[in-house]
């Protein structure tokens, strides 16, 4: 399982990469591997301001659908539109081309509540 050390993680298997006030968010390598082939990523919350823990979209694999939970509060400013036609990027490159949304964070102190790579790895065993 790949868990880059420069990212923050939620217990719900999302990762966060901080770029100034922007949080780039996706799902972890562990999550994509558990889900299997991802066939559809649906995010219809661009432009909305939401709290951490709220559902910002869903990811559909062949066998299952999962809610996507926002790891930090803020405005969803961008959806990775490449995923419209190529949802498999989440499987192929979960921390790179497979990123899902960008969020303008409203409270950067929330980042402190997220896990580091080691903590996340421990949480999934």
């Amino acid at each position: 399982m790949n868990t880059p050390s420069n990212l923050k993680y939620s217990k719900d298997h999302e990762w966060v990469r901080v770029e100034g006030d922007i949080a780039v968010i996706g799902i972890t390598d562990f999550a994509q591997s558990e889900l299997g082939e991802i066939v559809f990523v649906e995010v219809e919350t661009v432009g909305e301001t939401m709290d951490a823990g709220e559902v910002f979209g869903s990811v559909e694999a062949v066998k299952t659908v999962s809610d996507l939970l926002l790891p930090v509060s803020g405005e969803i400013v961008e959806f990775n539109e490449q995923l419209e036609d190529a949802p498999e990027l989440v499987n192929d490159d979960p921390y790179g081309e497979g990123w899902m949304i960008k969020v303008a964070m409203s409270d950067k102190t929330e980042l402190d509540e997220l896990l580091d790579a080691e903590g996340y790895q421990a949480s999934v065993g």
Binding site: G36, E37, F40, E60, K63
Partner: protein, 356 residues
């Protein structure tokens, strides 16, 4: 957890494994989509050794089967198989099964793994004819070799002329140097091919021969994940999803294997005849979404006004066309009047079209 003769091989091949009906079974190897497409276009091998096999023998075997099965078992010739179900005495279904007619007074029933114990108890309880019942599941292994290239691969390994075995017929013969293998022209994929039954100790010999013979056709192992999408695409029922102890076989579209013929007084006959005469209140339909989305088991089906008119029982995104399709029960008159139906996916109602 129980194992099959192939469990270690699945693990060695890197399959994603999961418990199913008490067995450690492969869910996927290269990926459900790739495996699905392999079976539709080439050939794939499924380990279905978890399936149950029950033998029914004795002078009253036919009488017994005519009473516990919905289909007309008397129509079978030796060497022929038949899809049927056990009505449960309450208008529902104990299990859907295949009956194989081996020789006079000797039949084999192939039942769902998850229902084996329940089926066995049901048959024992209803055995008023005093037939001999034998649960052979633990010493019977099974591989399904399915796809348009399956017969070419299989024919390389047997002297039995497979072209002479029609659909839903079988022969017992040599295969890959193993004697007394049941070669059955049946399957659960809608892509053609055979199902092979043999002793577990012969399993690896057969597996290895199949993969060697199939190499030139790109043969692959297929998991239970693609088994589900393949059957779903063809609209085949899965026990536990479309049918169970509470569902009407007529509503499930199993009227074609429910035979109200003279002299066949099967369990629930009167009840089902009455239900048929009164007209069905709902019916299982196959549908395709008109926009992007994936129907899932338990999602509501609604009409144009948003009123609930049914429920999804199985759904997926088809690997080749990327269309969201599913099976579900839809109330009268919507299952036949051509009005649009909608699947409620999260907060949206996505239009669906009923298809054949």
């Amino acid at each position: 957890m129980k194992t099959t003769p192939f469990t270690e091989t699945h693990i060695a091949l890197g399959a994603k494994m999961h418990e199913f009906a008490g067995y450690n079974m492969p869910i996927e190897y290269s990926g459900i989509n790739d495996e699905h497409i392999t079976v539709r276009n080439g050939v794939g091998v499924f380990d279905v050794s978890h399936m149950g096999e029950i033998w029914v023998k004795g002078p009253k075997a036919l009488d017994f089967l005519q009473r516990v099965c919905s289909n007309d078992v008397s129509k079978l010739s030796i060497g022929q198989a038949q899809y049927t179900y056990f009505p449960n005495g309450k208008g529902g279904i104990v299990d859907d099964i295949i009956v194989y007619y081996f020789e006079s007074e000797k039949y084999m029933l192939v039942v769902n793994a998850s229902n084996l114990e329940k089926d066995w108890n049901w048959l024992v309880k209803n055995n008023t004819e005093g037939v001999e019942l034998e649960n052979a599941s633990d010493h019977t292994a099974q591989l399904a070799v399915q796809g348009p290239k399956a017969v070419e691969v299989l024919q390389k390994l047997t002297s039995v002329n497979l072209a002479e075995i029609p659909f839903y017929h079988f022969k017992v013969g040599d295969f890959a140097g193993v004697k007394n293998v049941i070669l059955s022209n049946t399957g659960y994929t809608g892509s053609g091919g055979f199902e092979l039954y043999f002793y577990p100790e012969d399993g690896m010999k057969i597996w290895n021969a199949l993969f060697e013979a199939g190499k030139e056709y790109g043969i692959k192992p297929i998991g239970l994940g693609a088994r589900d999408t393949l059957r779903l695409e063809k609209g085949f029922c899965l026990y536990g999803n479309e049918i169970d102890e509470t569902t009407s076989p007529l509503e499930a579209g199993l009227g074609w294997i429910t035979k109200f013929v003279d002299g066949k007084n099967f369990i629930d006959r009167e009840r089902l005849e009455k239900e048929k005469a009164e007209g069905l209140k709902r019916k299982l339909v196959k549908f395709e979404l008109q926009e992007r989305g994936i129907p899932r088991s338990g999602y509501e089906i609604v009409n144009a006004d948003g009123e609930v008119i049914g429920q999804v029982t199985s759904g997926t995104m088809l690997p080749e066309t990327k269309i969201g399709m599913g099976l579900g029960y839809v109330n009268a008159p919507y299952f036949k009047n051509g009005e649009p139906i909608y699947v409620k996916i999260r907060n949206k109602n996505i239009e669906a079209k009923i298809v054949k």
